[in-house]
């Protein structure tokens, strides 16, 4: 084989391997995307049942109930609420009235069973998803008020 032919064969082989890897990567990618939903979207039934997703907003004041490591709280975007059930240790910055993002699945009873409550690094930091949820709710509210007014 001439060097050129050999190099061509290598390139073909490389492309084949790359294609296989790409197919495999995209497949794994597709099944591991975690989408984010605001409490309003969850209330409207947009969130998938039986698939992991993220929900975020504020921890509603007075909603936190603890029994040991078994925690229940409510995430709100000021419009709609989601009841959350979580077993485990909460991150340092988890507090009522603060932003929060939880990852988990929606149960048949409408309670969000969180497998993870995301830890954040800074006290003044609002998770962007949580901020997004609040902004969406505020925007929807503003739009409604505008409609009512002539």
């Amino acid at each position: 084989m001439k060097p050129r032919t050999r190099r061509l064969l290598w390139i073909v082989l490389g492309v084949a391997v790359l294609a296989a890897a790409a197919a495999f990567v995209l497949n794994a990618f597709q099944s591991n995307l975690v989408f984010f939903f605001t409490p309003t979207q969850v209330a409207q039934g947009e969130a998938p049942k039986g698939r992991t997703f993220r929900a975020g907003g504020m921890v509603k004041e007075g909603s936190l109930v603890r029994q040991g490591n078994d925690v229940r709280f409510v995430i709100t975007d000021t419009e709609k609420d989601i009841a959350v059930h979580y077993v485990g240790l909460l991150p340092d910055l988890f507090k009522e009235g603060r932003g929060v993002v939880a990852q988990g699945k929606l149960g048949d009873d409408g309670i969000f069973v969180a497998s993870e409550v995301l830890a954040k690094h800074d006290e003044n930091y609002m998770p962007p998803e949580a901020q997004h949820a609040l902004d969406q709710a505020a925007a929807a509210k503003a739009a409604q008020t505008l409609k009512v007014q002539p």
Partner: protein, 639 residues
């Protein structure tokens, strides 16, 4: 005055960097003669002067920190008069502006080193390399001066500073960013050599030999920086993980993967004259990914402990800079690379083919990590929704891609150049192969884990370790001086094996207990028993802490007292978890405080973890660093 001096030095530094970038390169293009020589000879002095000026600027900022000059806005935001001195110094790079200044400082130090240790190189090559590095430096200095000036004054001055983020008040932070940056910036040297070679039209073995030690040293720093970051996350974040597939971690992993491919590809270019175009592409990719890492981390598109900036101008600047670097270097590549000659031919089974396969696999792995890291950002930027790509994706993709890489490491080191015989390779490796399978089987039988992952991890780790050991033993039996680069290769490969065994061990055999405890409660993770003895209030320099005394017993005998803390810093409402870790050769015992569960603070949630083989991760990383050091110290680079 100090701040203004620093600012002024930085401006002059930029002008010098511009001269350093333009004049020598201009020289290399002009016709032979005294002017050409003079222009090219400017490279070294310009680089030295730039380094002096940037150092002066950095020293000015450090002085502002150490003298608590809160009239400088950046100091007021990131320091505090109660902050211990070492952290006041480390706080220089605790924010966006200072960390960029550190970037430029390290770049100018690398350039200084290139100037000093390139006596044997033709002046033309030196002029090109230093010129390209000067242009990179101009980009970053412009960025600092136009969008991120650390010397801006605050009027009226603050009475005290806002303090450094408590998470960053840690010995790990003092060294982690400089080490990581040394790696990132070091990729600029590999890049500059590649661009210089393209400009000169000589992609040859000599270029590869000049470039190799620099690339290996950069790789070594990058390895060390990533290892330190992982170690810091493990003990400082307080929940016992050592890798989270956080975008910021991925930003450092991607250049590392490509740099690993690059140092191997450079070897082929040097020894066999092959892979020239591929090597150049890897060098461009490694530096581009370092820039992308800087963009991801520093532009504020990601929110994490690393992300400081939120000014969109900054992100746009880095993005444009990245586009210019990638665009010009790829154009240059398209123009010049077709001239490169093919290297010596090689057979399907040869050292070259194994190295090429691993090179491609590493690049594919990098692409997979890149996809998972930037896809959510692109979707968000296009307003198509918010989503995240979690660790399961990265694990599902990364592990299967790295399995063949680890497997091929051994035959790649054994096989001959040009053409090897399968039977010979198999014959040579029969013992390491058989033993690795036996050890992996033993790990399953003894450890009580029955997962495929455990078997594969132990088998691959042992395979690499034993294969490396066999090669070393064979070499020791032969006469002749053994070069440092031989040791470098094998120590680094052995380090990789130790890391793989550590990852497998902790993943397979760790026990994590989240428990609630009162004084005198106990938890048992066989064979260890953890007994909570007492709580104390402990004052610190700028915080106060609740400290627990947790006594550890093994089979009823006293082992140690672990003292995890929950700190509350005066400057912030944010509590901080300080885990207590007892490290042994084979395991860590890890205890951290969660939160008080009642108002009297007598009952706490706690994490009590048994983490086997975690110390192997750090030991393996250190071995890889040592390997890099040995490889770069080889005598033949010092001619």
């Amino acid at each position: 005055m100090t701040a203004e001096l620093g600012h002024f030095a930085l401006i002059v530094g930029m002008v010098v960097a511009l001269l350093q970038g333009v004049l020598p390169l201009w020289g290399t293009f002009s016709r032979a003669g005294a002017t050409r020589q003079a222009l090219m000879a400017l490279a070294r002095p310009a680089a030295y002067l730039q380094c002096a000026l940037v150092t002066l600027s950095f020293a000015a900022l450090a002085t502002a920190f150490l003298s608590n000059d809160f009239s400088v806005a950046y100091v007021a935001q990131h320091s505090n008069s109660m902050l211990p001195k070492p952290y006041q110094f480390a706080a220089v790079w605790g924010g966006h502006e200072g960390s960029l200044l550190l970037w430029v400082l390290l770049l100018s130090v690398w350039t200084l080193a290139v100037g000093l240790f390139s006596r044997s190189l033709p002046l033309e090559m030196v002029a090109r390399v230093i010129g390209v590095m000067g242009l990179v430096s101009v980009g970053f200095l412009l960025f600092i001066l136009t969008t991120s000036n650390p010397f801006e004054r605050l009027l009226p001055a603050a009475s005290d500073g806002r303090d450094l983020n408590p998470l960053l008040q840690d010995p790990g932070l003092v060294i982690h960013p400089p080490m990581l940056y040394m790696g990132y910036v070091g990729m600029a040297v590999a890049f500059a050599f590649a661009v210089a070679a393209l400009l000169g039209g000589r992609l040859d073995a000599a270029w590869a030999r000049w470039s190799r030690p620099w690339t290996v040293i950069a790789w070594m720093f990058l390895t060390f920086g990533i290892g330190l970051g992982s170690w810091w996350a493990y003990y400082e974040l307080g929940w016992g993980g050592w890798w989270f597939w956080d975008p910021v971690e991925n930003a450092s992993l991607m250049p590392w993967l490509v740099a690993t491919a690059l140092i191997h590809s450079l070897m082929v270019t040097e020894k066999r004259g092959g892979f020239k175009a591929w090597t150049v592409l890897l060098a461009i990719a490694a530096f581009s990914l370092s820039l992308l890492g800087t963009f991801l981390v520093r532009s504020g598109v990601l929110t994490s402990v690393h992300a400081f900036a939120s000014d969109p101008k900054r992100g746009v600047f880095i993005l444009i800079f990245l586009a210019v670097v990638v665009g010009t270097s790829l154009t240059l590549f398209a123009w010049r690379a077709p001239r490169a000659t093919l290297g010596g031919s090689f057979a399907w089974i040869s050292r070259e083919s194994f190295l090429l396969a691993n090179s491609v696999l590493l690049v594919v792995a990098t692409a997979a990590v890149l996809l998972g890291t930037i896809y959510p950002l692109i979707i968000d930027a296009l307003n198509l929704g918010k989503l995240s790509v979690g660790p399961p994706y990265f694990n599902a993709v990364f592990v299967p891609l790295l399995v063949p890489v680890l497997f091929l490491m051994v035959p790649g080191s054994v096989a001959r150049w040009r053409e090897a015989h399968m039977s010979e390779v198999l014959h040579k490796l029969r013992w390491p192969g058989a033993l690795a399978l036996v050890i992996a089987g033993g790990a399953l039988a003894w450890g009580g884990s029955h997962s495929v992952g455990t078997f594969l991890g132990v088998a691959l780790g042992s395979w690499v370790a034993l294969g490396t050991a066999q090669l070393v033993i064979e070499r020791l039996r032969k006469p002749g001086r053994i070069g440092a680069s031989f040791w470098g290769q094998h120590v680094a490969h052995f380090g990789m094996a130790v890391v793989v065994l550590g990852i497998t061990g902790v993943g397979s055999y760790q026990v994590e207990r989240d428990v609630r405890m009162r004084v005198d409660d106990q938890v048992t993770i066989a064979p260890y028993t953890f007994i909570l003895r007492r709580f104390d209030e402990v004052p610190g320099p700028n915080y106060k802490a609740v400290r627990a005394d947790v006594e550890v017993q093994r089979d009823g005998r006293f082992v140690e007292v672990l003292q995890p803390e929950k700190r509350r810093y005066f400057s912030s409402a944010m509590p901080m978890t300080e885990a207590a870790i007892d490290s042994g050769w084979l395991r860590d015992l890890y205890v951290s405080l969660g939160e008080p569960l009642d108002d009297a603070r007598t009952e706490w949630s706690m994490r009590v973890y048994y983490k086997p083989f975690v110390p192997w991760l750090w030991a393996g990383v250190l071995l890889m660093v040592l390997g890099g050091l040995l490889a770069a110290a080889d005598r033949r680079y010092r001619r």
